[in-house]
Amino acid sequence: MNHCVPDFEMDDDYSILSSSTLNRPRKSPVPEDEIMELLWQNGQLVMQSQNQRSFKKSPPSKHQDGDQSASKEIRPSHHHHQQQQTVTDNLFMQEDEMASWLHYPFNDANFDNDFCADILYPSAPCVTSIATTTASPPVRPIEQPVEPRHLPVPASASAVASSSRPPIPPVRRTELESSRIPNFAHFSRHKVRTEPSGPSNSKSVVRELTVVDSCDTPAVVPESRGFRAMPSISNTEGASGGNNNNACGTIAIGAAAVAASTHSAGVSIGAGASSRENLATCELTVTSSPGCSSASAEPAAPKVAAEDRKRKDREAAGDAECRSEDAEFESPNTKKQSRGSTSTKRSRAAEVHNLSERRRRDRINEKMRALQELIPRCNKSDKASMLDEAIEYLKSLQLQVQMMSMGCGMVPMMFPGVQQFMPPMGMGMGMGMGMGMGMGMGVDMGMSRPMMPFPNVLAGPSLPTAAAAAHLGPRFPMPAFHMPPPAPDPSRIQPNQPDAMLGSLGLQTPNQPWMSGFADPYQQYLGLHQMQLPLPQNQATGQPSSSKPSTSKDAENLENHPPGT
């Protein structure tokens, strides 16, 4: 029992799942709630209820279903409440693979190979025999039934898989065999948790799962994503090849999913949840393997934590027996774990870390792209400038919303202030706002010279707020709108070169200009950027132009003088 505690999350999954699956059929003997399991019987899919064997389904195409049910079978048997073991008779390749794989979890150097081998080359006949053996006895007396089960398994496994696997102690095998897929998950998790080399072990496990998945075409087509999305029958091992983290989880989930899928609707919900939990747990264990993957662990952690909580709740109703079994199972696993080579563990840890890092990067990039789409006229390619623009745009949007809401509030209150609206605008605008924006000065100019488009544009955004401020007082803090520095320039140069500016910028109707650009402060912001360029030019041209007449006059005078004299 205590052994199981550290791993109870994983155990919980199984126990919960199994208990849920078990309880459902038990508590509700109604046929609907009966657990229907899809078993693979000699090349055919058979649908059987827990208690009885009923109809058969379709053929080999339903492979996965069979596998699923097989794994489901395994689970129940593991939890020794399962009477579904009857169905396990028809365990097939999946189970066989799992069994062999579970049986030889920690072969040192050959760990990976063995794993892979076993899974890759399951032997059908063995499966059946295993199924039969596993089916009958309850999980409790695991060892006894396991023994006989074992024999066929190793035989078959060895036949198919490499015979390099050393014989596993019966106890461990028993654990493994009985748990099958669930055990496998345990065991990967167990490794992760119990051993300092856990991460690498988990990785190895995961990797092997991955390998298995990729190789094991006939059995199940791993679709971890689909699997994750909802417990589907498609995957027992359902882990994408490249997704090591998922591999472990999906396998566990596969078991859960199998149970879920085969169960009735009522059951499937619970199973689905537990499968998710399993997945989460697996993922957590893999990702949280100490120091291996931080990034992925974090996102997974909260999710897993939530699910862990759920599982814990359910675990209360879980099975102590399975925990004890898991404990036994795990102790041998730990031993096996410790034997893994350090270098491979480290490389696996690095591998997982890289994967998680990559995933994190991908997430961030994806969000950056989404943000870029939201920002109008964002043609920046690098992240930093894009983020800069995003910040500016966000500010301008906030400002716009505030202004508009103020405008909405202003309208009903405008009437008393209408008389005062115009006159103080020139003076009170900039000051009243206290926004520290050059636009205030622009407003002043705008008011004094309604013909000025440029200052009007500048003044536009601030004008309504200034007006509101004058009458209503600023009701909310206005964000400091990032106005371009040249904003004050127009006010400075205006008295000097109004003509130049007018000429260059074009004139608009007096009333409109200072309002026109407001609605889109960001547009204004961009517009100002563009205007800043001509502005210095205007100043430059204005100065010479203004000076030219004088110089020319001087020249004329000079010229006149000399001629005169």
Binding site: L374, A384, I391
Partner: protein, 90 residues
């Protein structure tokens, strides 16, 4: 591999710092309520919040525009406030 990494990290280190700074700046503009532990908010989370916040603001702008246009219809079209409102909507 190591050389690649160093090169890549050399470039990315600069950008990473920039990005971290910008992300924190961005986060300042986001509504405070959404901020949890500020030191632990991930960049992707901030970006996500920003996107949703911008969408929210867009929606608000649309709503306000509609409201303003409604108000515009209620007041004298020649008045100053009408002009203001028109500018706001535009």
């Amino acid at each position: 591999m190591s050389s690649r990494r160093s090169r890549q990290s050399g470039v990315s280190r600069i950008s990473d710092d920039q990005i971290i700074e910008l992300v924190s700046k961005l986060r300042q503009h986001l509504p405070e309520i959404r901020e949890r532990r500020s030191d632990k908010v991930s960049a992707s989370k901030v970006l996500q919040e920003t996107c949703s916040y911008i969408k929210n603001l867009h929606k608000e702008v649309d709503d306000l525009s509609e409201r303003l246009s409604q108000l515009l219809s209620t007041i004298d079209a020649d008045s100053a406030e009408a002009a203001i409102i028109r500018s706001l909507i535009m």
